[in-house]
């Protein structure tokens, strides 16, 4: 667990020192929701049914944009290579990195989603259910997205490629996440979908770090 804590604390400290940069995904999420509301002609009735799904898609985009640069700074200053050489176990260290990344990208998006939901006229009863679905879903997005970010880290190509690689893999999370949000907004009980989201999270915590590690090792050889 030591490797986890070391990486987790280190990455959080780095994020704290780049405050503005860390704010970007959250600002993007709010801005995109604002544009969505405007683009649909400020007519709230049209948004009623689709709001849960729409916010989920926006959160997914924000996540792809945020995760893209997850390894780029560490790669540039060489600390990624050191990590791959000495981290024991690498699994825990990578999990720590992704967890720290989620604390500054996924968690604030989930926490702020009730406020953003005001823009698209989500009723207060549904707001917290929406936040809960994002709270359970965004860690999975971060873990799966990190595999794509690791694969692309060495190529010098940016976000579009990462998006192309990982968005098909986001399909299950999106289905259950937006499904839960829409059920909750419609007044139903979303616990079945929430359990599925939790299952996906458990699965990706177990498997994704292996994928991230393999991808980073490969990337180190570019």
């Amino acid at each position: 667990m030591n490797a986890f804590a070391t990486e987790f604390r280190r990455d959080l400290a780095i994020s704290a020192r780049h405050g503005a940069e860390t704010m970007n995904p959250i600002a993007f999420f709010a801005l995109a929701a604002f544009l969505l509301g405007l683009g649909l002609g400020q007519s709230t009735s049209r948004l009623d049914e689709a709001a849960g799904g729409a916010l989920w898609v926006l959160a997914l985009f924000a996540n792809v944009l945020a995760v893209e640069g997850l390894f780029s700074r560490d790669r540039e200053d060489g600390s990624l290579e050191q990590l791959l050489l000495h981290a024991k176990p690498l699994f825990a260290a990578l999990l720590g990195k992704v967890a720290a990344h989620w604390i500054v990208s996924g968690l604030p998006i989930a926490a702020l989603s009730p406020l953003v939901a005001l823009l698209v006229d989500v009723p207060p009863s549904g707001m917290f259910a929406l936040a809960l679905t994002l709270l359970l879903g965004t860690p999975t997005l971060a873990l799966v997205g990190a595999i794509g970010a690791a694969l692309v880290a060495g190529t010098g190509r940016g976000g579009l490629l990462v998006a192309l690689l990982v968005m098909p893999l986001y399909v299950p999370t999106l289905l259950f996440g937006s499904g839960a949000a829409m059920t909750a907004l419609g007044g139903g009980d979303p616990s079945a979908e929430l359990l599925w989201l939790a299952a996906l999270l458990a699965l990706s915590i177990t498997l994704a770090p292996f994928g991230i590690g393999a991808a980073l090792r490969v990337g180190q050889e570019y």
């Binding site: 692309v152 192309l164 690689l165 098909p168 893999l169 399909v171 299950p172 393999a214």
Partner: protein
């Protein structure tokens, strides 16, 4: 037993040599084209001309003789790519990567063909071409997975490095395919359940099944021939600096 193992080991090692594969594969390719093409001709003529008309769907069901083989192959090719990716990562066999590079566009084309024929078939039978049904959706996801494989290869400048990245992505993709399939299945489905399952009596009548089986086998053989042809082209491209390629080109 010892002899068979020895033979397998030698063949496996030879298969790893682009030069040996290139020299030996021309005959296989032509043979596969010939047998596969003949089976497709027989199966298609049988299915389109002689198999009975469906009571509910009329003649429109006959697109099944293209749709089903294409859809099966599209998935089989992705699994084959993932296996080749694992072989490449473990043994760093160059041929495994060249096989991925050769097979990915073929698989992508088949996926597109399955989606297109499905769309056309859907219009008379479902009343709409595209539906957010379990299997159409997961087929579309498969198309995007193929896009990703091809895009990643082009993004990494050095061919041998791109090979490693693509292998990792292929394995990640194949782990995800069942999850994607089940999650999409969870949505109620409009697509008919699979008619042919291993170990059960197929729910499709034998008079319609036989031409389909012949056609599917023909598609498999023919497409393996196509992949071998693409693989031969990749070998010449990747080994362009080798002496044997130069002599081979000059001899033509």
């Amino acid at each position: 037993m010892g002899k068979a193992t020895e033979w397998f080991r030698r063949t496996f090692h030879r298969m790893g040599s682009p030069r040996w594969f290139f020299a030996g594969s021309r005959g296989w390719m032509l043979g596969l084209y010939l047998v596969g093409g003949a089976l497709i001709a027989i199966g298609s003529a049988w299915g389109l001309g002689f198999a009975p008309t469906d009571r509910l769907q009329g003649d429109s069901y006959r697109i099944l003789y293209v749709h089903v083989p294409a859809a099966h192959l599209a998935e089989a090719v992705y699994v084959a790519i993932a296996i080749a990716g694992a072989v490449h990562l473990v043994w760093r066999m160059k041929m495994a990567d060249l096989a991925i590079a050769a097979a990915a566009p073929v698989g992508m084309t088949l996926t597109a063909a399955a989606l297109a024929t499905g769309y056309i078939w859907g219009i008379p039978t479902w009343g709409t071409g595209w539906v957010w049904d379990a299997r159409t959706t997961s087929m579309l996801v498969l198309l995007f997975l193929y896009f990703g494989l091809i895009a990643l290869r082009q993004a990494v400048p050095r061919a041998d490095r791109a090979a490693l990245a693509v292998s990792v992505l292929a394995i990640v993709g194949v782990v995800n395919i069942p999850i994607i399939k089940y999650s999409v299945d969870w949505f109620t489905t409009l697509h008919q359940p699979a008619s042919i399952r291993i170990g059960e009596r197929p729910s499709i009548d034998p008079s319609m099944l036989w031409p389909l089986a012949v056609n599917a086998l023909g598609y498999y053989l023919f497409l393996v021939g196509v992949v071998i042809a693409a693989l031969r082209a990749k070998i010449i491209e990747r080994e362009a600096k080798a002496d044997w390629v130069r002599t081979w080109v000059q001899a033509r």
